[in-house]
Symmetry: C2
Subunit: 215 residues, 2 copies
């Protein structure tokens, strides 16, 4: 099915937090059925190439009948191996130009930006979206940059030259304020992964997104 | 320059053990000038995608005027990004068939085998060589399988269907015995990386290799 690049409610999957690969696939199915618009596989833990491959394959299968694209974090080889819809890289990964060359023009490329300097250095013609964060302190990414807070988010949103999604400590309580910055979407990890009621967690976030978009 | 697949004296580079990327490049130049026939970049430590990329690029440049091929451990995307001569993968990496599809037929593919069962499962038509090990206990690979010792090495060498290189705890004292198994070459890490005299360490190992081949 054709995929759509809609950053509104972007789920970043942590396989461990989801209770393993099966739990992650189950989380994905429920979350996507209830409004998640993009999915990324990311693992901050020790996760072998084989695990990455089979986890990514399982997610691709789970999303095959949806318009929701699958992004692979950092591991360009895994994205190529399963023909993912996109790749998301950070400042310490393969350079953007090298990554674009590897994935070609038929996959989306997302790139993480943590401050003004990094934003000023973005090769806008090579990326499809940027992730801005962490907005608030996060417990799911060990090597995260310092939290930037709302004022800097608002500044970066004004300066960006492509769609963007905010990430880092985003939950039901701060989602509205973040979306009022004018950013296209919010990315969450623990606000969905590991929640007791995935459906309710997703629906609550979706409601915030829809309220913000209708304003 | 045309590369040759000669496993005789195969240097597996550990950037940390070499004192960083510059030290690793220096080690490589000296080792190759003194008889190393193949080089692999491997990092068992935390090493970002960016570090992998620039380390691999530097090694490729260092080997550009030689017949010595550069292999990249595990990270198929890095191998593609710098157009390395080959990839070496293990049992917990991307599957062999997936890796071969990603790298095509113009790069060599090495695959690690630690016991008889793994040897029996090798897709011989897809790999160019196998690494057999660890032969002896190793300090440079944390997730290494149990050391197999000489009797099992000898058995696996008899059963293999492609060239092979032995790895794991190999040094100047046990190199001759290992080569007497009939295996095509020896792979070393700490017998060269981090040695005070890289030239002497390499020449001593080369002498063992040449003695074994001339018998």
């Amino acid at each position: 099915m054709n995929k759509r690049l809609d950053l509104s409610l972007y789920l970043v999957l942590d396989p461990i937090l989801c209770g393993g690969i099966n739990g992650m696939v189950e989380t994905t199915k429920i979350a996507v059925a209830n409004g998640v618009t993009a999915v990324q596989l990311r693992s901050e833990h020790e996760f072998s190439g084989k695990n990455w491959y089979y986890a990514a394959l399982a997610l691709k299968e789970a999303l095959s009948d949806t318009h929701v694209p699958l992004f692979i974090n950092d591991h360009v080889d895994i994205a190529l191996a399963i023909d993912a819809d996109g790749v998301h890289i950070g400042q310490s990964d393969l350079p953007v130009d090298v990554t674009r060359k590897l994935i070609g023009n038929n996959k989306w490329l997302g790139f993480s930006v943590a401050n003004r300097q990094q934003l000023d250095e973005v090769s806008w013609q090579l990326v499809d979206y940027i992730g801005i964060g962490p907005i608030y302190p996060t417990t799911t990414k060990q090597d995260a940059a310092p939290a930037m807070g709302m004022p800097q988010l608002t500044q970066l949103v004004k300066l960006k030259q492509c769609p963007a999604v905010a990430i880092g400590g985003i939950n039901i309580n701060n989602a509205t304020a973040i979306l009022q910055s004018g950013i296209e979407g919010i990315a969450v990890v623990s606000a969905i992964c590991g929640q007791k009621n995935i459906q309710q967690a997703t629906l609550s976030l979706l409601e915030k997104v829809q309220q913000a978009k209708n304003k």
